[in-house]
């Protein structure tokens, strides 16, 4: 698989663009043979219905795939890949190209072998089978899952050239599952006493375990024990058959292949909340328990992997916005690096802790642009610039980079990742 066909995409698109020339006044000189001549697909057969019991995207879309960046990690087992957000639209991420992050690989765990344990400060420690879980009342919710390290490579400056690489550690799915609260209540929380100081420690069935501590308030609020995503079973690489969904909070806490939930009277201070997923500040001290993912946005098109190929005239500037603290209420777009802003159109009203699609329908005069987007959420928070973040945190936070992204779009329509003053 080619790892980054941005140039090829551009050239292919540019060739198509030349054939069409400038949109508005276009007038055909000669009849189009795609119309005047009978095409094979209008005459012969297409595939039979039994050709593909479970289909894949058409081959012309073979650029819309996950990509990894080899030098980021020591190996590909404890590693990350990236969702092709530059090529997607709407808000729902197709599971097959939704990013993966594992710490000891994507394990294969059947429903028959699956067990979920609840223990610790509960009235009755329990073991559930997968079949048990399907008998509890279910809910459906759409949420984004963003890796805490999304955009982390950009702390020190513009580094990776594409929205997929700078912002693609994210996916957004419709989950079906059982509220964590329901399972905790099934085990009984009387033993735990005052719940305000209590925690749950959750861990996966894989070798890394990925154990994390979650305060009881969040556990009882909106966490979901999910077994379906976008209508079908979770993909293996996303935690089949059961994962934890922690709305608005950093992706690391969305424990995959979840096997155990322990009610405790304090945080476990596991590796994934001490060594990792703590954020070093300027003075060398570090924030811990930075759970929520703050409001963030990115223009997905045009972007380095999605250049403008149609020449001057009507242009759709499109992107994604999201906030772990609530719903997106507004997205502003700048074409001049933040000097002036226009409010974009939200495709649908923002939903809490879910991706929101925005559009700015505009005219491109062929001039260079410095494209930015700025998200606002229903708490009134406004997405900061990278420099504002660095002023508070320095350069070594690794995680939680929600700074405003800039794409430089040049006169030929190509875009690149830049930082501006």
């Amino acid at each position: 698989m080619s790892n980054g066909p941005s140039r090829r995409t551009f050239l292919r698109g540019a060739a198509a663009g030349t054939a069409l020339l400038a949109g508005t006044a276009a007038r055909a000189q000669t009849p189009d043979p795609l119309i005047t001549e009978v095409q094979p697909w209008a005459s012969g057969f297409g595939d039979p219905v039994d050709a593909h019991p479970y289909g894949m995207p058409i081959r012309f879309e073979d650029d819309v795939v996950r990509r990894n960046v080899e030098w980021l990690t020591a190996d590909t087992i404890s590693s990350i890949n990236f969702t092709p957000i530059h090529a997607l639209d709407g808000t729902i991420t197709p599971q097959g190209c939704a990013f993966e992050r594992h710490h000891s690989g994507a394990i294969e765990l059947s429903k028959a072998d699956y067990r979920l344990m609840i223990n610790g400060l509960v009235d009755r420690p329990l073991v559930f089978t997968y079949a048990d879980l399907e008998r509890f009342p279910r809910e459906n919710h759409v949420y984004f899952c963003e890796c805490a390290a999304n955009s982390g490579m950009e702390w020190a400056g513009a580094q990776l050239n594409g929205a997929q690489f700078t912002h693609g550690m994210i996916h957004n799915m419709e989950y079906t599952g059982v509220p964590l609260r329901t399972l905790l209540e099934e085990a009984g929380l009387d033993t735990a006493g005052d719940l305000s100081g209590k925690w749950v420690y959750v861990e996966g069935a894989d070798a890394s375990s990925n154990g994390r501590s979650i305060p009881m308030e969040k556990a009882l609020d909106d966490c979901l024990i999910a077994f379906k995503a976008n209508g079908e079973a979770l993909r293996k690489e996303h935690g089949y058959p059961v994962r934890l969904v922690v709305p608005g909070w950093e992706g690391n806490m969305w424990i995959k292949w979840i096997r155990r939930i322990e009610v405790t009277d304090g945080p476990m201070e596991s590796r994934e909340e001490t060594s990792k997923y703590t954020d070093v500040m300027k003075d060398g001290s570090a924030r811990k328990w930075t759970w929520a993912m703050d409001a963030k946005s990115v223009v997905t098109s045009p972007s380095p992997q999605a250049p403008i190929t149609h020449g001057k005239g009507p242009l759709v500037i499109s992107g994604l916005a999201w906030s772990g603290r609530g719903a997106i209420t507004r997205v502003d777009v700048s074409k001049d690096g933040g000097k002036t802003w226009q409010t974009a159109r939200l495709a649908k009203p923002g939903e809490k802790m879910a991706l929101t699609r925005f559009y700015l329908d505009t005219e491109w005069d062929g001039e260079q642009m410095l494209l930015q987007s700025r998200a606002m959420d229903d708490t009134g928070y406004v997405q900061p610039t990278k420099d504002q973040l660095r002023e508070v945190r320095g350069l070594n936070s690794v995680y939680h980079n929600n700074g405003i992204q800039t794409w430089l779009v040049n006169a030929s329509g190509e875009a690149e990742n830049v930082e501006v003053s």
Partner: protein, 215 residues
Amino acid sequence: TSAQAEGFGLGREALPKEIAAWDVSVRPDGTGLPEGSGDVWTGEEVFADKCAVCHGDFAEGVGNWPKLAGGWDTLDRKDPVKTVGSYWPYLSTTWDYINRSMPFGDAQTLEPDEVYAMVAYILYSNDIVDDDFVLSKDTFLDVEMPNADGFFVDDRDETEYAQWSGEPCMENCKDNVEVTMRAVFLDVTPGVDEAATSDGQITDEPAQAAATTED
């Protein structure tokens, strides 16, 4: 039981042996530690046998694999080196993580005595204990982790939210805008065309990213 009566009656009671098999986590106060002990020199042997191929003979790390020792006093510098000695706040985490998830690719194969010894050796490699140190349940809380006080709870609501909320600027927000950095100069994106090469204005080394993205 009342819990059952109030609930759905789904699932079954977990047996003590089942809980013991899966609940192996260790708390900062040492809760969860099993019986056993191990000394520095035994740890060195176990480490050489099972860990050094990735983490180095002295826990200093091989290639891109994690460094477990060193990095003292680097946390406020560019590219801090975050190791057990320089960064990790609790010894419990080291014991727990090794016991549960190491060696990489062969997890949950270590005996408690091996884990105790290995952790003792990592402490020694970080100059936290002397070479005659024996780690056990009893000596566990004697160990002082250098960066135990290095962490504070998320304070974004106080330090960030107030200054980044409210009606933002829409017009005349800046006098001038200049491009200060371009990703194409680094040329570290997979598949990016050769044409987009460095013109010598590299503002940072790609390696800085490798360091920041250990995760």
